[in-house]
C-alpha cells in the first residue's frame, strides 16, 4: 500500500515536472509563432491587405426568416474582400437572454465588431456610456451611402441626444390584423372605427368565434396601440416622466369595454403570444394585434385572407384613428473599440456600408417582410404584408411603441394591470397611477 502511494506520488511529481517543461516550451514556441505572424502580417500589408477577422453580432440566426439573406450578404462581402473573415455570431431575439448578452458584452470589453441591436431606450445604456460611434459624420462624408436610406428611417434611428448611432436595415409596424373571410361570412364591416369594432365583437362572440385574439400577460401590442390611440402621438411620446396624461387611462377603460363585450379569448389570462397568434393563424379568431414580423408564421390560408388596419381610436381618445405604431427599431452599431483599431477600421466601415446598402436592404426586407429602410421595391410578399406597407405609408403618423418611452419595469407594470383592470380588480386610473409610481422609483 505504502509502495503504491509512493509510486503514485512519484508519477504525479514527474507528470507535474513534465507539464511545466512542455508548458514553458510551448509558450516560447507560441511567442515565436506570434512574432512570425506579426512579421508576415506586416509583409502582407506592403503587398496586399492584411487579414482581418471581424465578429458581427445579430439576431439573424436560428429561425429568423432573414437568416439566409443575411449570410449571403456576408458571403458577398468576403468574396470581394478576401482578406476579411467574418464570424457570423447570432442569437435569437425571442427572449430577453439576447439583451443580457449584448449588454454584458458591451459592458465587459467584449464588444463585437459590428452589432445589430435595438434603437431607443434599449440602447441608451451603452450609447450614454460612450461605447459606440455616432454615425453622423460617416454618413455626411459618404452621400451615396446616406442617400440610400429614406430620410424617415434615419430620423427613427436618432437617439434622444439627436445623434444617429445605428444604421437601420428594415423597420416594422404593428396593426390590427383582420381575417377578411370571417368578417365577410358574418356580414361585418372592417373595424375602421370604434363602433364598427364593438359591433363586430358582439356579433362574433355571440357566434362563438374569438373576436380579438390577444393574451393578457404578453399584451404588449394591445397596450401600445390603445395608449397611442387614447393619448395621441404627442401624449404617448411624453411617457410618464413628467406626470400623468389623463388620456392614458382611456386606453384601459377601452380594454375593459372590449372585455365586457367578450372580445378576448376565454383563456386570455393563461395563454402567451404564441398561442394567441396560433388562434388567429388557425382561423379560430377574427382579429389580432400583432407586429409585421408575425405574418411569416401564419398559415398560407390566413395570410391570403388577412388585411391590416390601424387600431381604431378608443372612446374619447385623441388619436386620429390613422396613427400607426411602428418604426425602425433596430440597426447596426459601430462599437468604439473597433473604430479606434486602425487594423480593422477600414474593413468594418466597408462592411457596415455593404450591409446597409439598398441592394442588401431589399433582400432582407423581402425575406422578413419588414419595411425597408431604403427606397426599394419589394415584391413577392403576401397581400397582407403589402397592405401593411400601404398602411404605414398612408398613416397620419408613425410612433415608436410606448415601451420605448418608459422604463422596462414600468411597462411590465402596465402589462400586469391589463388583467386586473378588465376583470374589475383595479380601475384604469389606478393602473396608470401604479405605473407612474414605478416610473418615479426608476429615476
Amino acid at each position: 500500500m505504502m509502495l503504491l502511494s509512493l509510486l503514485l506520488l512519484f508519477s504525479m511529481i514527474l507528470a507535474a515536472c513534465g507539464d511545466n517543461k512542455s508548458g514553458s516550451n510551448s509558450s516560447a514556441a507560441d511567442g515565436n509563432a506570434g512574432k512570425n505572424a506579426a512579421n508576415t502580417q506586416q509583409d502582407d500589408k506592403n503587398k496586399d491587405a492584411a487579414p482581418v477577422k471581424l465578429r458581427v453580432f445579430s439576431t439573424f440566426g436560428g429561425t429568423d426568416s432573414a437568416r439566409e439573406a443575411f449570410q449571403q450578404a456576408i458571403d458577398e462581402f468576403t468574396a470581394s474582400h478576401p482578406n476579411v473573415t467574418i464570424e457570423n455570431d447570432t442569437m435569437s431575439a425571442n427572449d430577453d437572454g439576447f439583451r443580457t448578452k449584448v449588454n454584458t458584452d458591451m459592458n465587459s470589453g467584449n464588444e463585437p465588431d459590428l452589432l445589430f441591436y435595438f434603437i431607443g431606450a434599449d440602447a441608451e445604456g451603452f450609447v450614454n456610456a460612450d461605447k459606440v460611434v455616432p454615425l453622423n459624420d460617416l454618413l455626411d462624408a459618404d452621400p451615396e451611402w446616406k442617400n440610400g436610406f429614406i430620410p424617415s428611417a434615419l430620423d427613427f434611428a436618432k437617439q434622444p441626444d439627436g445623434n444617429i448611432y445605428a444604421a437601420p436595415l428594415t423597420g416594422f409596424y404593428e396593426g390590427l390584423f383582420v381575417n377578411k373571410k370571417i368578417f365577410e361570412e358574418n356580414g361585418l364591416e372592417l373595424p375602421t372605427d370604434w363602433d364598427k369594432l364593438t359591433a363586430a365583437v358582439k356579433t362574433l362572440s355571440a357566434k362563438g368565434i374569438i373576436p380579438l385574439s390577444v393574451p393578457f400577460d404578453q399584451s404588449h401590442y394591445l397596450i401600445e396601440y390603445s395608449i397611442l390611440s387614447a393619448a395621441g402621438p404627442e401624449g404617448q411620446s411624453k411617457g410618464l416622466k413628467d406626470g400623468i396624461d389623463p388620456n392614458w387611462e382611456k386606453a384601459y377603460a377601452a380594454m375593459k369595454e372590449l372585455y365586457d363585450l367578450g372580445a378576448f379569448p376565454k383563456d386570455a389570462a393563461t395563454i402567451d403570444l404564441n398561442m394567441s397568434g396560433n388562434y388567429f393563424s388557425e382561423g379560430l379568431a377574427a382579429m389580432t394585434i400583432e407586429g409585421s414580423w408575425a405574418i411569416g408564421g401564419w398559415t398560407d390560408e390566413t395570410k391570403d385572407n388577412a388585411t391590416v388596419i390601424p387600431f381604431p381610436t378608443v372612446p374619447g381618445g385623441l388619436g386620429s384613428g390613422n396613427n400607426v405604431v411602428g418604426g425602425f427599431g433596430s440597426g447596426f452599431y459601430l462599437p468604439k473599440s473597433v473604430y479606434n483599431d486602425a487594423a480593422k477600421k477600414d474593413s468594418v466601415v466597408a462592411l457596415l456600408k455593404h450591409l446597409t446598402s439598398p441592394a442588401i436592404i431589399q433582400k432582407i426586407a423581402t425575406a422578413n417582410g419588414g419595411t425597408p429602410a431604403a427606397d426599394v421595391e419589394i415584391s413577392g410578399l403576401a397581400q397582407v404584408a403589402m397592405d401593411g406597407f400601404a398602411m404605414a405609408a398612408n398613416s397620419d403618423s408613425i410612433s415608436s411603441p410606448v415601451d420605448s418611452k418608459v422604463a422596462p419595469e414600468t411597462f411590465n407594470d402596465l402589462r400586469a394591470s391589463v388583467q386586473q383592470v378588465v376583470t374589475g380588480k383595479k380601475t384604469p386610473t389606478e393602473a396608470i397611477e401604479s405605473a407612474k409610481k414605478v416610473e418615479d422609483a426608476n429615476k
Binding site: 506520488l9 504525479m12 430577453d96 439583451r99 443580457t100 449588454n103 454584458t104 458591451m106 459592458n107 441608451e124 445604456g125 451603452f126 450614454n128 456610456a129 393578457f216 400577460d217 379569448p265 376565454k266 383563456d267 389570462a269 393563461t270 395563454i271 402567451d272 398561442m275 388562434y279 379560430l284 422604463a407 422596462p408 419595469e409 411590465n412 388583467q419 422609483a441 426608476n442
Partner: protein
C-alpha cells in the same frame, strides 16, 4: 499522512477555485448590487437599504413566498411520499425490479422545459389534451390554468419530474438494511405494513431527512415549470420566477439581487427548521 496534506490541498484547490468564481463571487456581487438601484447595465445608484425595505412592503413578493410554500407542501407530501411508497413496493417484489427502477427514474432525465411544454399542450383551453377528453364525454371544458388551478397545475409536473430521483435514493437506502433484520421480523410473524412502518422507515430515517432537505431547497429553485406553463400568471408566481422577472425582464438588478439574498436566507432558515424538527439519533447498523 503529514506529507499527504499538501496534495490534499492541491487537489481541493481547483474545485475551491471553481466554486469561488462561479458561486461565491456572484453571491457577494449580488449582495453588493442589492444596495443599488440599477437602470439597465450601465447606470447604478447607491440606495442603501431601499431594496430591502421594498422586500417587506412588496405584496407580490409575499404572494410569491406563499405560493412557494404551497408548492413545497405538495412536493413534501406527494413527491417524497410517492417516492417512498414506490420504493417500499419495489423493495417487496423480486422480479422486474430493474424494469420498474428504470421506468420510475426516467422522467428525471428529461429536461424540465420539455416536460413543461408537454403540459402546456395538455392544459390548453381550446385544443389541449385534457379538454378534448372532457369534450368527448360531453363535459364542459375547464380552465386548467385559471386562478384556482394554476399553482396546482404547475405542481403536478414539478412533482412528477423528480419522484424518480428520491425513489432511487430511498431504494439505495433500503438495500443497505441487513437482510437478517427482515428475517427476524418474518420469524416473529410481522406483516408487511408493520414491517414497513416499524422497521424499514425508522432504519432509513437519516436518508428521509436528507431527501426532505433536498426537496425543500429544490422547491426554492423551481423556475422552468412555472415560467413555461403559466409565466407566473393567475397566482402561480414563485420566488424563482419573481426574481427573474425583476432582474432580467424589468432590468432592475438591484431589487432582483435583494430578492436573491432573501431567497438564500429563507432557504437556509427552512432547511435548519426542517433539520431541527426531524432531529433524531442516528442509527448505525
Amino acid at each position: 499522512m503529514k506529507g499527504d496534506r499538501k496534495y490534499i490541498f492541491m487537489f481541493l484547490f481547483p474545485s475551491a477555485l471553481f466554486l469561488t468564481v462561479f458561486l461565491y463571487y456572484p453571491f457577494f456581487k449580488s449582495f453588493y448590487l442589492s444596495f443599488y438601484r440599477t437602470k439597465g447595465f450601465f447606470d447604478k445608484k447607491f440606495v442603501g437599504w431601499d431594496n430591502f425595505e421594498r422586500l417587506f412592503t412588496d405584496k407580490l413578493l409575499g404572494a410569491a413566498t406563499l405560493h412557494t410554500l404551497e408548492l413545497m407542501l405538495y412536493v413534501l407530501l406527494f413527491q417524497v411520499g410517492i417516492a417512498l411508497v414506490l420504493a417500499v413496493l419495489i423493495e417487496g417484489i423480486s422480479r422486474f425490479k430493474d424494469f420498474y427502477r428504470t421506468v420510475f427514474f426516467f422522467p428525471v432525465v428529461i429536461s424540465g422545459t420539455a416536460i413543461s411544454l408537454l403540459f402546456v399542450l395538455f392544459y390548453n383551453y381550446n385544443f389541449g389534451l385534457l379538454n378534448n377528453i372532457l369534450a368527448n364525454f360531453g363535459i364542459e371544458k375547464i380552465f386548467w390554468l385559471d386562478e384556482g388551478n394554476a399553482l396546482k397545475a404547475v405542481a403536478i409536473p414539478t412533482v412528477w419530474h423528480y419522484v424518480g430521483f428520491y425513489f432511487i435514493l430511498f431504494l439505495t437506502a433500503m438495500s443497505k438494511i441487513p437482510a437478517d433484520y427482515y428475517e427476524a421480523a418474518r420469524l416473529e410473524g410481522i406483516g408487511a405494513i408493520k414491517r414497513t412502518t416499524m422497521l424499514t422507515i425508522p432504519l432509513i430515517m437519516s436518508d428521509i431527512k436528507v431527501v426532505i432537505t433536498l426537496a425543500i431547497t429544490g422547491t426554492l429553485k423551481v423556475f422552468e415549470f412555472v415560467w413555461v406553463i403559466t409565466s407566473g400568471q393567475n397566482g402561480s408566481e414563485v420566488l424563482g420566477t419573481y426574481m427573474y422577472k425583476k432582474a432580467m425582464v424589468d432590468q432592475n438588478f438591484g431589487y432582483g439581487s435583494a430578492i436573491a439574498i432573501y431567497m438564500v436566507i429563507f432557504g437556509v432558515l427552512l432547511a435548519l427548521l426542517a433539520n431541527r424538527l426531524l432531529k433524531r439519533d442516528e442509527i448505525t447498523y
